[in-house]
Symmetry: C2
Subunit: 202 residues, 2 copies
DNA sequence: ATCCCGGATGTCACTTGGTGCCATCACCCT
DNA sequence: AGGGTGATGGCACCAAGTGACATCCGGGAT
């Protein structure tokens, strides 16, 4: 299981507090287990909260809604990608800067292949969750586009590069989930991008 | 206002029935007006139903949920695009077949510019509606990909062409909404696609 | 030691979206 | 005349969110 920021902080020598530590992490863990076992629809927020030793009201203090418990990692992903784009070698083109994000993202996912598989299975089984996933990708693309603009790339080209890059990531991620090699995400992204270049120019 | 299928059928010589005709059309109309005037969140389904002379329960017989009342056209859009792809000249490449869809889609939207503007304003103001829009585009892309496969195009290339085409449509549509020329959608789509080719190969 | 403050949690009431079930009631067909 | 049909209304109910307030313990200030 991936540790939440809170979990790490408390693990690192914090004193025993009044409440069991890592409430958000426990909620995420409960969600993964229960959603996968009995389905998203058939799991109530009260179920999740009880499984984590909390109440409904407290769940909504950590996550703005029931779907969000599966998407807490989206912010981190966005930060990673944006930083990679921002830190790409000065003067390189839009797509090259974009691809710097590929590497950063692929690396962080290699240790989470089995986690990602379960999560993907849950999401694939429910349209509400797919909607949330799509809007997270949209947000990601728009942030990456902003990072490209920051590098002096014209807005239109930045948007095209960013949205296409995220689209490629999405597709490659789906292929990566469907296979068994946890390290194969980066090559899949590059292959997909090459394939797109081919399709567009043929 | 765009007439719903029911409205057209009844308009074409149907006899007076027990109920006021075009219930779904009235609900859509009410949604456009009320969502725009007082916001999506601050409009209840009961408000919409009352405005159309119906009850909450009846609303949910026409639309599976509150968001869906703004997306009844998605099916028609998908049919149009898929038919265009299927009917494209035999033997032409993936992207050329895709672009046949561009023309079909652009044409149907030229008469709905002001409608589309209002609708876009409503959607832009609410994340729930943006999510629904994104999943409709996803569904559109996947159907177009299937239509491309039907033409003998390999699955991977079909997916890339379809998702990219829909992405381009999405971007061009946003630009079209932001301007005043109701006929300019098709050129915008082609320009955006050309721009993408340039970004990808530079 | 006492007091107070702050922050994480619990409790409760309430609105709204969404659904299942049954009643109604005009129209149509035989 | 009578029965079927289909769109609608009414009602009860569950689950997702939300706002307001109470609680309760640890830590710091006096």
């Amino acid at each position: 299981m991936v540790m939440s920021p809170g979990a790490i902080a408390r693990y690192a020598g914090a004193v025993m507090s009044r409440w069991k530590p890592d409430a958000d992490g426990r909620l995420i863990e409960a969600a993964l287990v229960l959603f996968d076992r009995q389905g998203y629809e058939d799991t109530t927020v009260a179920d999740l909260a009880a499984s984590a030793g909390l109440t409904r009201r407290t769940f909504f203090r950590y996550f703005s809604d029931k779907r969000e418990v599966l998407f807490s990692g989206a912010g981190e992903l966005e930060r990673l990608w944006v930083n990679a784009v921002t830190g790409a070698p000065k003067g390189c083109g839009a797509m090259v800067a974009m691809e710097a994000g590929f590497a950063a993202v692929a690396e962080v996912f290699t240790e989470r292949h089995s986690f990602a598989k379960i999560r993907a299975r849950i999401i694939a089984a429910n349209p509400e969750l797919q909607e949330r996933e799509l809007i997270k990708l949209e947000k990601l693309a728009s942030s990456v586009a902003a990072a490209l603009e920051e590098r002096g790339i014209e807005a239109g080209r930045a948007a095209l590069a960013a949205y296409t890059g995220v689209q490629i990531f999405h597709l490659a991620f789906a292929r990566w989930i469907a296979q068994d090699d946890p390290g194969g995400l980066l090559p899949l992204m590059h292959e997909s991008l090459e394939e797109l270049r081919e399709v567009l120019t043929s």
